[in-house]
């Protein structure tokens, strides 16, 4: 499996990740605690922890400490990079499929 494939699969692996990506894409200036972010997508902190970790690993979300609390914020430039990778990956897949099955 290519790195692009792994990235793509990780991004679409859970509903929570989808909700988080939509939230931060629509609200790139959001800076909030895990609890605050969870509340804004109608969930509780525990239920988003694993997905937040994945997005932090990918660099799309960053963690910063404010006082005694960890907050999450969106990395706009990393997100742009990731989106470009995904778009290129999808284009490559399409080209491969067309080469195999003919134009769709």
């Amino acid at each position: 499996m290519t790195a692009e494939n792994r990235l793509f699969e990780m991004l679409i692996s859970t509903e929570v990740k989808g909700d988080l990506l939509v939230l931060f894409h629509k609200n790139p200036g959001l800076i909030d605690t895990h609890e605050g972010v969870a509340r804004r997508i109608g969930r509780i902190a525990n239920s988003i922890e694993a997905d937040v970790r994945d997005l932090v690993t990918l660099g799309i979300l960053k963690v910063r400490q404010i006082g005694s609390r960890d907050v999450l914020l969106f990395d706009r430039s990393k997100d742009r990079e990731t989106q470009e990778t995904i778009v290129n990956h999808l284009k490559t897949l399409k080209t491969r499929m067309e080469a195999r099955d003919g134009p769709q």
Binding site: K26, N27, P28, G29, L30, I31, D32, T33, G36, R40, R64, Q65, I66, G67, S68, R69, V71
Partner: protein, 261 residues
């Protein structure tokens, strides 16, 4: 003395050229009076007309909703963000109260954007997280953080407006911290609801003392002529002024006499 123009010509005229630079401005009014619209217009005009980038700090309303509402007035906030002229930051008020919270939340954005204007929407949300009696102290700290970075702060304050009574925007003891207070309120005149704007205070500067009607148009806030011939508008019980009543009585008497003849 440097002034920060709002870009709303009639309001700038009332302010004798604009808000005084680095002054703490408060826009107070009840829900639906257009506080957020005025605050956004001040930032958008600053960024697009006067080369003054700005930060909009919101506590409850998500930026997504602010972008959408701004679009209705023809303001493309996303484009301004991409051009590094504006940032909409959304956070929980309690984070701002953490030690070094302002710097952690805003420091990077301030360095990147070099803003000249900043809106805090709203102080009421901050108040919910501050122990009783500490709002003034916390607000002072935050205002000083903003001012010492060369930024002019504008605070939004939602004040309760009760029917037939005046309302105080200084209940929290904030008046000491505020250099300029702009009051927005609903008034009932001749059985219709109108919006009224007044500059209640402007430290160190002359300003228009009239209460003026304003409207929220498709292009933002537009200030009209002063209400004339009425008294008691600020207190919530407007009535025609004595001069107007006398003039009206003369007019009635004259009309009646004319009909009799």
């Amino acid at each position: 003395m440097a002034r920060n123009k709002t870009g709303i010509p009639e309001l700038d005229e009332m302010l004798r050229g604009g808000f005084m630079d680095k002054d703490a401005v408060m826009i107070a009014g009840s829900a639906g009076t257009g506080k957020t619209t005025l605050a956004l217009e001040y930032l958008v005009n600053g960024a697009t007309q006067f080369g003054e980038p700005g930060i909009y700090l919101t506590f409850e309303q998500l930026p997504d909703q602010i972008y959408r509402d701004a679009e209705n007035f023809g303001w493309d906030l996303r484009k301004l963000e991409a051009e590094n002229k504006l940032r909409v930051v959304c956070t929980s008020p309690d984070l701002l109260l953490e030690p070094d919270g302002e710097e952690q939340l805003l420091g990077e954005t301030i360095k990147e954007l070099q803003p000249r204007r900043m809106v805090i929407d709203s102080l009421n949300h901050l108040e919910m997280y501050v122990p009783q009696g500490d709002l003034r102290k916390e607000a002072y700290r935050i205002l000083m953080y903003i001012k010492t970075r060369g930024i002019s702060p504008l605070i939004v304050w939602e004040a309760q407006q009760e029917v037939d009574s005046s309302y105080s925007v200084t209940q929290t003891g904030m008046s000491f911290l505020i250099d300029c207070l702009v009051l927005l309120k609903f008034v009932e005149i001749d059985s219709s609801i109108k919006k009224a704007l007044a500059i209640m205070k402007m430290r160190g500067s002359d300003h228009d003392k009239h209460l003026r009607e304003y409207e929220i148009t498709a292009h933002g806030l537009r200030v009209a002529a002063p209400f004339s011939g009425y008294e008691g508008i600020i207190t919530g019980s407007p009535h025609r002024s004595l001069t107007q009543e006398v003039a009206g009585a003369w007019d009635d008497a004259f009309t009646r006499t004319k009909h009799k003849q």
